[in-house]
């Protein structure tokens, strides 16, 4: 799989946007099944309307999953170190979500580079539905250039290496 060069991840550079994701009723039900979250507000139109919800809406974590993909689709098998997302508008059936990301900043931590991305999903009205950040940890040099003692100093890199 592709291994990103930290040199390519400069502040302000956009990540490739995802193709629009359509949130259908079927998809909301599928997410309920996949996550085990059968809150009736997501899956029961009658109960939702009765409770004043205005009709079923998607789980916030569905769009959060799309935002995680903005990074992981691009970085391949580099694991995320963090993902933080705020749900700012409910997503109703039929909505399309446009998910994008940008390199927010890079900081060095020992011999690693921590890259933080700004992430956002917007709907057909161009309103933000999800807003957040993700971070990954990348080694600054090729892994085989590290000596054993470097690994002790760099727990973040060890995590990356354990997976990669």
């Amino acid at each position: 799989m592709n291994r990103p060069d930290p040199g390519e991840l400069v502040t302000g550079r956009p990540l490739p946007a995802l193709a629009p994701e359509v949130v259908t009723r079927e998809r909301i039900l599928s997410y309920a099944g996949a996550s085990g979250d059968f809150n009736p507000m997501h899956v029961d139109e009658v109960l939702n309307l009765d409770a004043g919800g205005g009709g079923v809406f998607a789980h916030g974590m569905l769009g959060t999953g799309f935002l995680g993909r903005v990074v992981t689709d691009h970085l391949g098998d580099v694991p995320l170190a963090s993902l933080a997302v705020r749900c700012t508008k409910v997503v109703r059936p039929g909505a399309r979500l446009f998910c994008s990301g940008v390199v927010q900043d890079t900081t060095t931590s020992g011999r690693d580079v921590v890259v933080r991305f700004g992430l956002r999903a917007t709907d057909d009205e161009n309103d933000i539905t999800h807003d957040g950040t993700a971070s990954v940890v990348l080694p600054m040099r090729e892994l085989d250039q590290y000596r054993g003692d470097d690994l002790d100093e760099s727990p973040l890199l060890v995590r990356w290496r354990a997976i990669g």
Binding site: M61, G68, T72
Partner: protein, 146 residues
């Protein structure tokens, strides 16, 4: 407030769960994730769990939120989540899920005015007690319909 404020600080027992590849597949299918790292046969070994898989461990959370805190599910809204990944979680792993109620109160919101609010801290650990992943999730509970 509709919530049981005395539930603050409650922590569930550690609930053991085996990470099933079929559950990873179900999540990847619905979020349209085709990353081979999350799929069976990746590098000849067990696949990794994708970033939002931590939300697929629910037994302890539901028990805490519904039974102990007294949340009326139709009024529940997910506000924010912050997930941090410490060690890889792989298909076949035995993980222990624990949920703590770390905030209970009221907050001003744009859409609903003052609303009941709570925050949970979810941890996933291995059988050595090492932290694999953790998440803070905050929720709002809408008031009665007028």
């Amino acid at each position: 407030m509709s919530l049981n404020a005395r539930a603050l600080g409650t922590t569930t027992p550690a609930t053991p769960t085996i990470v099933e590849q079929s559950r990873i597949d179900a999540l990847c299918d619905v979020v349209n994730d085709h990353n081979p790292a999350f799929r069976r046969g990746w590098r000849g070994g067990p696949a990794l769990a994708p970033p939002t898989f931590i939300n697929c461990f629910r037994d302890a959370k539901s028990q805490l939120v519904i039974d102990t805190l007294g949340v009326d599910m139709p009024r529940l809204l997910h506000g924010e989540q912050t997930m941090t990944y410490h060690r890889p979680i792989r298909a076949g792993d035995l993980v222990f899920q624990q949920v703590s109620l770390v905030e209970v109160g009221q907050k001003a919101t744009r859409a609903m005015g003052a609303a009941d609010f709570f925050k949970v801290w979810i941890t996933l650990r291995n059988d050595q007690g090492e932290l694999l992943a953790e998440a803070y999730q905050s929720f709002f509970v809408r008031g009665e319909r007028r």
